[in-house]
């Protein structure tokens, strides 16, 4: 029997040294003369990044994780040559560390339902034929042969899908609003400017299956009568760009893009436009400005892009995930799609689970799954068995959700009620070592830096908010600062021009609401409970470890360390300037910060 070894080539599985597993695998196979026994295939990220680097051996579906050269050699000896799966090297379930025999049986996948990522890890993203085998372009064929544009739009409306970029605007309605204008042209855009820090859903979706996005856009083009589409993608994602280019070239060669697609009189083509490192370009009007080659600044709406977008023509913009869902709706029917999820949020949502969690990775769950299920059942709980503190959703536009809301179902309305937003899908888990004031400061630093400067509330407001937060983390906060933060935060939210400013204060307002006591500890007691804010920490000598070598006392620039040779030294915290030199110098690591 000839086995198949599937090597995961997702970004996380590339060895930290930048090396891939595959050449090593080929080398070992060569050494052992075992090339004839297997076929090697590369697949894109399975999403189970906690076990990387990993391989899957088919036909058994045996799932080996955390590999190195020695382990690979053993798998080839015992499994490939000997025919016996190597029990000891199987990847483990994070909760009870039992072994996972088959990839699909991992708890990680149990609660997931993959629609957007249906082909990711299954098809070779650089093989157009692979996609065709997975019913690729069947949806487009059906649409072009059997449906009128009006029927296509009604089907999307019936599915109940809402925009996956974060806002949750009904997709069908957006399509309808993009039609019926007396303009000679209209455009379709895929927003792949995934800018939220800690979010990698769109990157993985494109890297894993660029084809379904193109098929979705082509269906959208047919529905609104557009002849040209653009994918606006971040320049920071070179692999995604490469795979999109391949997919576009192949589709053109096969007559699935270009003139008279499927022999009909429908013409449609897609081009790529690169971003250049501006977060605000994820906002639709800013994105359009950027495609036009201008500074990516938003403009007031209305008119919405559906009426007046790219070069003033009607333009339909959807996010990567939304487009990826479109072919699935037409393959399986709008009723099927509407049957998944909750009453108001249909289908599934992809989340990029990261932070202090055991299984970092990409998860796709039906809407309505609770945060607890995602974090504990799929994510495996908190790393190093620390205590859960909060989960941050929605990136710099979202908020931090504390433990008491962990049973919140994931849908647009419930997350909003819990003080956060669905957002594009970043989900960062935080434990007891994370300082919530510092997190708020982190996001404000980001939004303040990315504010385009066009409108005053955002430009000036985020700057002042950041100043107040910085003051608090440095121990210079005063009690009135909390009211100031709340008042100014609400003003910035109400008065800003675009989504960036309207949501920038969310990380502050949600942490103020849920973790007010941490702010108060910083201000009133000059203490950082999580031990993060360095200005509020003091240096101490651990008497059990100190050997009295006197090095710390010698290096201290303000001579605040006293003690005799070979006896425990003591730091006078009232004089200490917290330069940290003593900690660096200590040969036995006896100096700590608290």
């Amino acid at each position: 029997m000839k086995r198949k070894i599937i090597v995961c080539s997702g970004s996380a599985c590339i060895d930290p040294g930048g090396k891939r597993l595959e050449p090593e695998l080929r080398r070992i196979l060569g050494d052992k003369n075992a090339f004839d026994l297997v076929e090697i295939e590369e697949a894109v990220c399975y999403g189970h990044c906690g076990s990387c680097p990993m391989i899957v051996v088919e036909p058994e579906g045996t799932f080996y994780g955390e590999l190195n050269s020695e382990k690979l050699a053993r798998i080839i000896d015992e499994h490939i040559i000997g025919g016996q799966p190597v029990e000891a090297l199987l990847a483990t379930q994070p909760m009870d560390t039992s072994r996972i025999r088959m990839l699909g049986s991992a708890d990680f996948f149990g609660k997931q339902l993959r629609i957007t990522l249906r082909n990711c890890g299954i098809i070779d993203p650089e093989s157009f034929d692979d996609y065709l085998q997975m019913r690729g372009y069947e949806a487009l064929a059906k649409v072009l042969e059997q449906m009128t544009p009006e029927q296509v739009i009604s089907e999307v409306e019936k599915s109940g899908m809402r925009g996956r970029g974060g806002g949750g605007y009904p997709t069908g309605l957006k399509w309808r609003q993009s039609t019926g204008h007396d303009e000679e042209k209209s455009f379709v855009i895929c927003n792949a400017d995934e800018g939220d820090p800690g979010a990698f859903m769109d990157r993985s979706a494109i890297e894993g299956d660029p084809f379904c996005i193109l098929e979705g856009m082509t269906i959208g083009g047919y529905a609104i009568g557009a002849t040209q589409g653009y994918v606006y993608v971040r320049a920071e994602y070179p692999l995604a760009i490469k795979r999109l280019r391949y997919a576009i070239d192949e589709a053109r060669k096969r007559g699935l893009l270009g003139k008279s697609i499927f022999g009909t009189n429908f013409n449609f083509d897609i081009d790529i436009r690169l971003g250049a490192g501006a977060f605000v370009c994820g906002e639709e009007t800013a994105l359009i400005a950027s495609i036009e080659g201008r500074r990516g600044m938003p403009r007031p709406r209305p008119p919405y892009p559906a009426q007046s977008g790219l070069w003033g023509y009607p333009t339909l913009i959807n996010n990567v995930e939304t487009w990826a869902n479109v072919p699935a709706i037409f393959l399986n029917g709008a009723d099927w799609f509407a049957g998944i999820g909750t009453e108001k949020s249909k289908g599934t949502k992809v989340f990029a689970l990261a932070g202090k969690i055991k299984n970092t990775g990409l998860v796709e769950v039906p809407m309505g799954t609770t945060l607890r299920e995602i974090i504990y059942d799929i994510g495996g709980g908190i790393k190093n068995d620390k205590k859960f503190k909060a989960v941050q959703t929605g990136g710099p536009s979202g908020g931090c959700i504390p433990e008491q809301f962990l049973d919140t179902p994931v849908d647009y309305e419930s997350l909003m009620k819990a003080g956060s937003i669905m957002g594009s899908g970043g989900m960062i888990v935080m434990d007891e070592d994370t300082c919530m004031v510092d997190v708020a400061k982190f996001f404000l630093t980001f939004t303040q830096d990315e504010s385009c400067g066009k409108c005053t509330p955002c430009r000036e407001g985020t700057k002042r908010l950041l100043e107040i937060l910085t003051r608090i983390t440095e121990g210079k906060g005063v009690p009135e600062d909390l009211q100031k933060l709340e008042h100014l935060g609400k003003t910035v939210k109400r008065a800003s021009l675009c989504g960036l400013g309207q949501s920038a204060p969310n990380p502050i307002l949600s942490t103020l609401q849920n973790f007010r006591e941490e702010y108060e500890a910083h201000i009133n007691e000059k203490r950082c409970p999580a031990g993060v804010c360095s200005a509020l920490l003091n240096y101490y000598v651990d008497p059990d470890k100190c050997v009295g070598c006197t090095l710390c006392a010698k290096v201290c620039p303000v001579k605040c360390i006293s003690g005799e040779p070979k006896k425990t030294h003591v730091i006078d915290t009232s004089i200490c300037i917290k330069c940290g030199e003593c900690k660096k110098k200590c040969p036995v690591k006896a100096i700590y910060r608290k």
């Binding site: 970004s11 930290p16 820090p197 990157r203 971003g275 501006a278 080659g293 201008r294 500074r295």
Partner: protein, 166 residues
């Protein structure tokens, strides 16, 4: 008009522009052109920007506005190797700031600056989406994942050594 020496120097760029130029929307290919020029010449000097302005007939001031808006475009010469520390949320939570601090100490430069020997340019980067490996730093295209501050010294030494050999 551009002088003859510039014309030769930028032949390649002129050719690229004529390939992507859309006369109906002269400015629409500007960002692609700037990406190409930066890759070719390392950074966007005044000469490069003025040349693009002449060929595309987009005012140089307008191009300059675009260049300074987007953080990936550089108007100063860059070091031979680009060191970037990811400042995405996952990396930040897992200690990205400490990696940056260690690099600043080691190279004696701040983010955005270049070492005196023009070997390294240090920068903070936005999330590169490999959050499973957090915290991350990259040197050119090489990714270092799960980096500890203590490892930074070794990584820099490795690249210094490489540069000396060449």
């Amino acid at each position: 008009m551009a002088c003859s020496c510039c014309e030769n120097q930028f032949d390649d760029l002129t050719q690229y522009i004529s390939g992507v130029f859309d006369p109906e929307h002269p400015q629409s290919s500007l960002i692609s052109i700037l990406h190409h020029a930066q890759e070719r010449y390392g950074y966007l000097s005044k000469d490069v920007i003025e040349h693009i302005a002449q060929v595309t007939e987009v005012p140089a001031a307008e191009i300059y506005g675009v260049v300074t808006f987007y953080s990936l475009f550089k108007t100063k010469p860059q070091g031979k190797h680009r060191i970037s520390v990811c400042m995405g949320t996952a990396c930040y939570i897992r200690g990205g700031a400490k990696i940056l601090e260690a690099l600043e100490d080691m190279l004696d430069i701040k983010p955005g600056e270049t070492t005196e020997d023009m070997l390294f340019t240090l920068s903070e980067t936005r999330c590169i989406g490999a959050c499973g490996l957090a915290p991350i730093m990259t040197v050119d295209d090489k990714v270092y994942g799960r980096v500890e501050p203590e490892q930074v010294k070794g990584i820099i030494a490795e690249w210094r050594e490489k540069a000396e050999k060449v």
